[in-house]
């Protein structure tokens, strides 16, 4: 009962502290809004493909038009038509990051290419830059497709000529252009295609390259739950500093009860934050948390328990508020980054990914993603939850053992 | 002591909105003397000192410190004074020596002079052995001594000490009082604020008693005590804390009404009375107490002192 009294006292203090409330409620929402703005919501209208400048000095040729169409159909890039002035500054635009790359089609490109003569397009891209490399690859793919179409047209013309010679250059040209057009149409509906499915239990939702809201929402929840470290650690240090802790210990309250009372208050606070973030993700970022509330709840509670116990440990070891902030921020950065809350561990090396998976945060991300991305149920979160709870128990034990009551 | 006035305060006022913290203080301190400003908390002592230190601008009035006006010549005033604030103003993460070196520089000392002076001050305040220790690890008394030492670095002509012995052990207090006397013996003028009567009595050439922003009495110890004339002071300890209004009203009223009793002041279980003749007053006091059902458990009859003076002038105890 006295544990609950202690908890209630802490909660009262939190509710009276406007600054704390600001951090609890406003900050997570602001950050989540920010990330949703950056990555866009599902079904958003913003074209998130990399912009590639397109300067066309050979506009009379169907080939340059064809190349433009291929770039427009690309998954990775979107062409941005450049006028003469912009084309002259294309290199600077690429350097400054306004364009991922710039393509320049020189005069005579179409005629030379159709005639089988080399006529390269000029591409400006920084291939030591991920965006530049991606754009460069996409342009390469478009050019390959274009040249493949030209090859088909030329082969068709050559083979036809063997059967029946063209009467004029104009007829040949018309033949070639028809072949190009037919090839282009054929590629739009190729006989062999690749169909991508997502291995979700629920739907065949196809995840696009730009659809990051699920990752960013789950990442936000994990990130901000860890932020609760500062409060959990701070409450202990402040109690010790004010002398209230020593006074508590002159009562018949046991040491573990003191820690448990504080921990319970912080747990409720952190859970509240999680609820706010999950609600926000559900309503505004269209992430389907509500599909498996029990599973989401289990992961949330386990994560909150671990965060609070880590906060207790930091509070146990810290001598003052500055140390609390220092250790809490460092822990926050390390666990969030290594656990995949900031960027997917998929993008990291095997070693880093393996180390990252030693962190409870990585298991929390797994738990959330099993539900919201893979469409799985409660059974899929049991292992992550179990591991996180084990971490929580160990950390809390360490906190009780190391706590400086004097 | 010389004829020159080290400090002349003329009609000093300080108002904070509707609060009159200092109301028309007039004082003079001769060069080489110790003047104590004695009064309870909130009397205006620190505010007066802050004005003389050029930290606060007076609402009205002026003061001269070593001939320099606090209003128009504050830099010269600051060059002449050393200030030991009530709150310990040190850098806790620097060592004692580092604090002294820094403050010495702020007082305009440099090079070999600074080094020598720092060594001397460390010796004076008894912290030579602990000069490299971080101040955050010092005891309260050590911090107070360092706090004082900083005020002495530049050998000021006038030293302002604002309640330097608050909250420290008797040994440290003794050490501080001895230091102040020694500094004065070397020619330093000292303006010392305190609410401890014994300190004012021990140290001062003159004492100014302050209450509610005004100087209500000024003079030597003997002159001040004469204000209460031949009155005797009786301190009574009683068995009940007089928590109920009826009880306290009854016995205190009875005592006030008793013949020969001039003033009565009560604080919890202690009552201070000024009477014409203690021999005659005591039986009446006991009788009144018995009638009220109050038991007197301790009686002390004292010579008139500054507390009695304060009580006489204000009707309140110095330490209320």
């Amino acid at each position: 009962m006295r544990i609950l009294d202690l908890t209630l006292k802490d909660l009262t203090q939190v509710l009276r502290d406007r600054k704390a409330l600001l951090f609890l409620v406003a900050m997570p929402i602001v950050f989540t809004l920010f990330f949703s703005l950056i990555f866009g919501s599902q079904g958003g209208t913003r074209d998130a493909r990399l912009p590639v400048g397109f300067a066309n000095d050979d506009s009379s040729s169907p080939l340059s038009t064809h190349l433009l169409a291929l770039l427009q159909d690309s998954d990775a890039v979107r062409p941005v038509i450049l006028d003469n002035k912009q084309a002259a500054k294309a290199g600077l635009s690429v350097r400054d990051g306004k364009l991922a790359a710039a393509v320049s089609v020189l005069q005579g490109f179409g005629a030379a290419t159709l005639a089988g003569q080399p006529a390269p397009v000029s591409v400006i891209a920084a291939t030591n830059d991920p965006a530049g490399e991606t754009a460069s690859n996409a342009i390469d793919a478009a050019m390959t497709r274009l040249l493949g179409s030209v090859q088909i047209a030329r082969s068709s013309a050559q083979s036809y000529e063997k059967l029946k010679p063209f009467v004029s250059a104009a007829e040949r040209q018309a033949y070639l252009e028809q072949a190009l057009s037919m090839t282009s149409n054929a590629w739009r509906d190729p006989p062999l295609s690749v169909l991508v499915e997502s291995a979700t239990a629920q739907t065949s939702h196809v995840r696009t390259a730009q659809d990051n809201t699920d990752q960013s929402s789950a990442g936000s929840i994990v990130q901000f739950t860890i932020y609760g470290l500062i409060m959990s650690a701070g409450v202990l240090v402040l109690e010790r500093k004010s002398g209230a802790l020593q006074r508590l210990l002159t009562t018949t309250l046991r040491r573990w009860e003191v820690l448990a009372g504080h921990a319970l208050a912080m747990l409720l606070v952190v859970l509240f934050q999680e609820v706010v973030l999950i609600g926000f993700g559900q309503l505004f970022m269209h992430v389907d948390y509500a599909r498996q509330p029990l599973a989401i709840g289990l992961v949330s509670v386990a994560l909150a328990l671990w965060v609070v116990s880590l906060g207790m440990l930091i509070g146990a070891l810290s001598k003052g508020e500055e140390q609390v902030i220092m250790w809490s921020l460092l822990a926050m950065f390390v666990f969030a980054a290594m656990g995949g809350a900031w960027f997917s561990l998929e993008f990291t090396s095997k070693t880093f990914s393996a180390i990252g998976h030693l962190t409870p945060t990585a298991w929390a991300m797994d738990g959330f993603q099993n539900v919201i991305l893979r469409g799985l149920g409660v059974h899929s979160v049991l292992q992550p939850v179990g591991i996180i709870l084990a971490y929580a128990a160990a950390t809390f034990g360490l906190a009780v053992w190391r706590f400086k009551f004097e | 002591m010389s004829d020159q006035k080290a400090i002349e305060v003329r009609g000093l006022y300080k108002d904070y909105g509707g609060v009159h913290a200092v109301q028309g203080v007039d004082l003079q301190v001769d060069a080489g003397e110790i003047l104590s400003l004695l009064g309870p908390n909130g009397a205006g002592k620190t505010t007066t000192l802050s004005m003389l230190s050029c930290l606060l601008t007076p609402t009205r009035g002026d003061a001269l410190v070593m001939g320099h006006s606090i209003r128009s010549d504050s830099m010269a005033v600051k060059a002449a004074i050393g200030v030991v604030p009530q709150d310990i103003a040190l850098y806790p993460d620097l060592s004692a020596r580092e604090n002294l070196v820094f403050w010495g520089k702020m007082y305009g000392l440099r090079g070999a002079t600074l080094k020598q002076r720092v060594d001397e001050v460390l010796q004076t305040i008894g912290l030579s052995d602990r000069q490299k220790g971080a101040v955050s690890k010092f005891s309260g008394g050590m911090k107070r001594r360092l706090n004082i030492g900083i005020g002495l670095l530049h050998r000021p002509q006038v030293l302002f000490l604002d309640e330097p012995t608050v909250g420290i052990d008797p040994q440290s207090r003794r050490s501080i009082l001895d230091s102040v006397k020694e500094l004065n013996r070397q020619g330093m003028t000292v303006l010392y604020t305190t609410h401890y009567m014994e300190e004012a009595q021990e140290l001062s050439n003159h004492i100014a008693i302050m209450d509610q922003g005004k100087v209500i009495a000024y003079g030597t110890h003997e002159e001040l005590v004469k204000i209460v004339g031949g009155l005797d002071r009786i301190d009574l300890t009683i068995s009940v804390p007089l928590t109920t209004k009826d009880e306290s009203a009854q016995v205190l009223d009875a005592w006030r009404a008793a013949e020969g009793v001039r003033k009565v002041s009560a604080e919890n279980g202690h009552v201070t009375l000024l009477v014409d003749d203690s021999n005659q007053a005591l039986p009446r006091l006991f009788e009144a107490a018995a009638n009220a059902g109050v038991r007197i458990t301790g009686v002390e009859v004292r010579e008139p002192n500054l507390e009695a003076v304060f009580l006489h002038l204000t009707g309140r105890a110095l330490r209320e």
């Binding site: 350097r95 030591n128 939702h205 140390q323 993008f347 | 310990i88 103003a89 007082y107």
Partner: protein
């Protein structure tokens, strides 16, 4: 002279604080190190490397006996299992679609590929159609994308040949000529040879159809990892520099509460000098921080920040901007109890709006890039990004001038407010 004494005292105190040293140096370098290490470690120096994707292949395709048992599915499976793709794909054969899908669900594979029964038949008949199904782990994007690219490229070679034959046959038919199978196959073969040669060229990094140039840069090219580390380090450096400046300016409030500021005011030191000393302390501290971070990160992560003059200009601009902003925001604060909100919340939000936490991301919304420039952080970031991209003095100068101007304005307002309060 006294001004420098005060500044130096503050500097000494800061360097004795583990908290200050951690926030100034350890935190930004640690964050960048985590990202740097995450992207493949220090060993390989070229591009980003991603672990090979585990792939389960279900080959249901039937061979075509009329074409010497040609089987596209078998060829694709062998291609995926070839040594050439070992670093990118680990392909194993699965018995059926259900077990392959389960492997993906169990996270034993990132992708399951199901090659349909009629794959070869669809390729070889004029009107045939078939779809290769790629079932991916929804938590992955890069690996499945690479696998899709590999399969598409492989299949396109055959698709193109089919299209070539069909187009030729259709064009000839339109002109009244019936083409026999052998002639059509010849066209298909020509395409196949072209596609193979083209793929070989591209795999060797040569594409004669493209003349690739790097954008104009005054600096030596850096590798991808170092460039990314540079962008992240820039964001971290700016964030923690602004934090340090605010924390340093906060000491004015701290000293006021401790009583040491009042004590300073009782010395024969003009108040303006005292305040100037505090401000100088802020600038000096931030300067040391920036110099150390630029030098250490350059060595540790191979970041090339730019030529000496460009870097110097940016350092000076950022120091003055951060210092000015720190003094400015602290001038509005009444006491140290309020600083937590400002430093924890305010600086983080302004850093976020300034783009400091998304430096590694590409193709951010244009509106967001405009918002960045409404914060001082955004201007600092712009300057460093230009330098990292190879910009020189003339390229960063306009940004540096804005930084200096903003810094001066913030500083003036902050100094004025402090002076009004204390002097």
């Amino acid at each position: 002279m006294k001004m420098w004494d005060i500044a130096l005292k503050d500097l000494v105190r800061s360097f004795r604080s583990a908290f200050a040293v951690t926030m100034m140096f350890v935190a930004p370098l640690l964050m960048t190190a985590i990202f740097y290490f995450a992207l493949g470690g220090l060993a390989s120096g070229s591009g980003l490397s991603v672990p090979a994707t585990e792939v389960q292949v279900v080959n249901l395709d039937r061979p075509a006996p009329q074409f010497e048992n040609f089987a596209l599915g078998k060829m694709l499976t062998e291609f995926l299992q070839s040594d050439a793709l070992q670093g990118v794909v680990h392909a194993t054969a699965a018995s059926d679609g259900a077990s392959a899908r389960e492997a993906v669900n169990q996270r034993m594979a990132g992708v399951a590929i199901i090659l349909p029964e009629n794959l070869t038949k669809a390729l070889l008949s004029a009107e045939g159609r078939a779809s290769i199904t790629l079932i991916q782990d929804p938590t992955l994007s890069l690996g499945p994308g690479i696998v899709k690219g590999i399969i598409s490229q492989f299949v396109d070679g055959y698709t193109g040949a089919r299209i070539a034959a069909n187009v030729f046959a259709a064009q000839a038919r339109e002109r009244g000529i019936q083409v026999d199978v052998a002639t059509a196959q010849d066209v298909a073969l020509q395409y196949g040879m072209w596609a193979s040669a083209s793929a070989q060229n591209r795999n060797n990094g040569q594409n004669p159809a493209i003349e690739l140039q790097a954008p104009p840069s005054k600096s030596a090219a850096t590798n991808q990892r170092a460039l990314l580390a540079g962008l992240i380090m820039a964001g971290m450096m700016i964030f923690f520099t602004f934090f340090t400046a605010a924390a340093a300016a906060e000491t004015i409030l701290t000293e006021d509460e401790q009583g040491t500021l009042a004590r300073l005011f009782t010395t024969a030191t003009p108040r303006t000098i005292i305040l100037a000393g505090k401000f100088a302390g802020v600038v000096m501290l931030v300067l040391v921080q920036v110099v150390v971070l630029v030098l250490v990160s350059g060595r540790a992560f191979g970041i090339y920040w730019g030529d000496a003059m460009t870097v110097t200009l940016l350092c000076v601009g950022m120091v003055l901007l951060a210092s000015g902003f720190g003094v400015f925001i602290m001038s509005f604060i009444k006491n140290t109890r309020q600083t937590g909100t400002v430093m924890g919340g305010g600086l983080t939000i302004s850093g976020m709006l300034g783009g400091l936490f998304t430096t590694g991301f590409q193709n951010l919304p244009r509106a967001y890039e405009v918002i960045n420039l409404f914060t001082p952080h955004g201007w600092a970031l712009r300057g460093w990004k230009t330098a990292l991209a190879g910009g020189g003095v003339s390229d960063v100068l306009p940004t540096v001038l804005v930084m200096l101007g903003l810094g001066a304005v913030f500083f003036a307002i902050g100094a004025l407010l402090f002076r009004k309060r204390f002097a």
